[in-house]
Amino acid sequence: MNAQLTLPSAKYKQKVGYFTASLFVTVAVCIYLKYNPFLIFADFTPIQRLLGEMLPPNFSLLWQPTIGKAIAQTASMAFLATFYGCLIAFILAFLTAANTMPLKFIRLIVGGFLSLLRIVPPLVCILIFIIAVGLGAFSGMLALIVITVGMFGRLFTDIIENTDHSAADAIYSVGASRLQVIRYAILPQIIPSFIANCLYAFDVNIRVAISLGIFGGGGIGYELYMAMQVLHYQDAFALICLIIIMIVLIEKASDYFRTMILGKEKLR
C-alpha cells in the first residue's frame, strides 16, 4: 500500500490490529508452555530413531487370534453403540422437537438432558463406566452410546423440526392422532437423513471406539496401547496400518451405502 497516495483505511488498521493481537497472544502462550514450534522441523532424530525401530512392521502379528478378536470387538462396539445410540437419540428427538411434543416442560427437560450429554467429555464417560461395569468392550460400548446420543440428539431434533408442516397439518385436520401424524407425515420425511446420519455416526464411532480402547474400553486401541507401552514398536506399526485400513474401508462402505440409500429415496 502506498502511503503517499492513500492512508491506511480504518478497516486495514483494524485488520492489522487483530493480526498483531493474535500474534502476540500466540507467542505469549508458546512461551508459557515453553513450546518451540520450530523444534519439530529442526530435530528429526527422535522420529528417525523411532522409524528405525518401527520398520519393518511385524505383520505376522495380525494372524494371531487375539488381534482378530480385538478388531471384531472394536467394530461391534461401534456398531452396537451406533444402533442403540441412534435409537435413543431418535426417540429423545421426538420428545424434544416442538412439532411432535406439545408439553413444554417435557421438551425443556429432555432438551436439557441432551445438552448435558453433549458436553460430557468421552473421557469422563469411559472412566465412570469402567468402574460401573468393569474393564472391557462393554464399558466402551456404553460410553460410546452416551457420546452418540449427545452428538446426534440435537441434530435429529433439528431434522424433525425442519420437516414440511403442510403434510402434518393436512392429516391432523382430517382427524389423525398424534402418533398417526408422526407415522404418516413426519417419518417418511426424515427416514433418509436419519439413515444417512446413522451411517455417519458409525463412521465417527469407529474412531472414538479406538480412542476409548486406550482407556480400557478393549478392542484394537487397547492392543495398540499395550504394544506401545511395552515398546514393541514393530507390532504397533502393524496395528496402526491395520487401523488405517479398517477406518478407510468403513468410511468407503458408509459412503457407498449413504449414496445408495439417498439415491434410492430420491428416485421414489
Binding site: Y35, L50, V120, L123, F138, I244, I247
Partner: protein, 264 residues
C-alpha cells in the same frame, strides 16, 4: 404400500434387513460381552458410584486451575499452528491452484491423516519425543490437517475464479495470487471452521492429556487412578465449564463476525 401388504417386494425391503440387523446385533453383543442383565447391575453400581463422588473436593480447585489453563493453551496453540498447516495443505489440495499430481498426492495425505485418530498420532509422538506438552501440541496440530485441510480445500475450489484470473492478467505471481486473490475470499469460512476446530481441540486436549500430554485430562485420569473421586469430580466440573465456555466463546465470535460483517 399399505400395512397389510405381504408382497415379495416388501419382504425383501423390510423383513430381510430387519432379521439381518437383529442377527448382527445378537452377534456383536456376544463379541462385546454385552447384555441387559449386566447393564442393570452395572447401572446400579454406577449410580451408587456417582453418589460416592459427591461432594466435589473444593480444596483441590486452586491446584487444578493451572492444568486447566495448560489444556486451554495447548488447544489454542494447536489450533493456530494447525490452521497454518491446514491452509498450506488446502492450497496444495485445490484443483484450481495446483497441478493434478500435487493435488492428488496432497488429497491422499489428507485422507491418510484423517483416518488416523489424534490419539494414535500422540502415542507415536510420545514414543519419539517423550511425554509432555510438546507431543500433545504436535498431535493436535497434525490433527487439524485432516479436517480443516479437506474442508478448506473444498472451499478454495469453489471460490470466484474471476479474481484470480484478473490478478494473473496483471502479472501477479503464484504467491500474490494466493495472498490477494484466494485468502480474502476464504477468510469468513476459515474463521468459522477454525472456531469449530477449536471446540474439538479443547475436547481432544482433555483426552490426550489423560494419555500423557499433560493438562486437566492428566489430573482427571490420575485422580480416578488413585481412587480420589472427590478430586476427580472437581476436575470433571472444571472440564464441563471449559467445554461450555469454549462453545459459548466460539458462538459469540461467530455472531459478532456475522453482525459486523468484519473480516469480509
Amino acid at each position: 404400500m399399505t400395512i397389510n401388504d405381504f408382497s415379495p417386494k416388501r419382504y425383501y425391503k423390510l423383513v430381510l434387513p430387519t432379521v439381518g440387523l437383529l442377527a448382527l446385533i445378537k452377534l456383536t453383543a456376544w463379541v462385546c460381552g454385552a447384555g441387559f442383565d449386566k447393564l442393570g447391575k452395572g447401572l446400579l453400581q454406577g449410580i451408587s458410584f456417582v453418589k460416592i463422588m459427591f461432594p466435589p473436593d473444593w480444596s483441590a480447585f486452586p491446584e487444578m486451575l493451572e492444568p486447566a489453563l495448560q489444556s486451554i493453551a495447548i488447544a489454542f496453540i494447536a489450533t493456530v499452528l494447525g490452521t497454518l498447516l491446514a491452509v498450506v495443505f488446502a492450497i496444495a489440495a485445490a484443483s484450481n491452484l495446483t497441478n493434478p499430481i500435487v493435488r492428488n498426492i496432497t488429497r491422499f495425505l489428507i485422507g491418510l491423516e484423517r483416518s488416523l485418530p489424534e490419539i494414535i498420532i500422540l502415542l507415536i509422538l510420545i514414543a519419539g519425543y517423550g511425554l509432555g506438552v510438546f507431543s500433545g501440541i504436535v498431535a493436535l496440530s497434525l490433527g487439524c490437517i485432516g479436517m480443516l485441510g479437506k474442508l478448506l480445500g473444498d472451499v478454495i475450489e469453489e471460490i470466484d475464479h474471476t479474481m484470480i484470473e484478473s490478478l494473473e492478467a496483471v502479472g501477479a505471481n503464484k504467491l500474490q495470487v494466493i495472498w490477494f486473490g484466494v485468502i480474502p475470499q476464504i477468510v469468513p469460512n476459515l474463521v468459522s471452521l477454525v472456531l469449530f476446530r477449536f471446540e474439538i481441540n479443547i475436547r481432544l486436549s482433555i483426552i490426550l492429556g489423560a494419555v500423557g500430554a499433560g493438562g486437566i485430562g492428566y489430573e482427571l485420569d490420575t485422580s480416578f487412578g488413585l481412587l480420589q473421586f472427590h478430586r476427580g469430580l472437581t476436575a470433571v466440573l472444571i472440564i464441563l465449564v471449559m467445554v461450555v465456555g469454549a462453545e459459548q466463546l466460539s458462538q459469540f465470535i461467530r455472531n459478532k463476525i456475522k453482525l459486523k460483517g468484519a473480516l469480509k
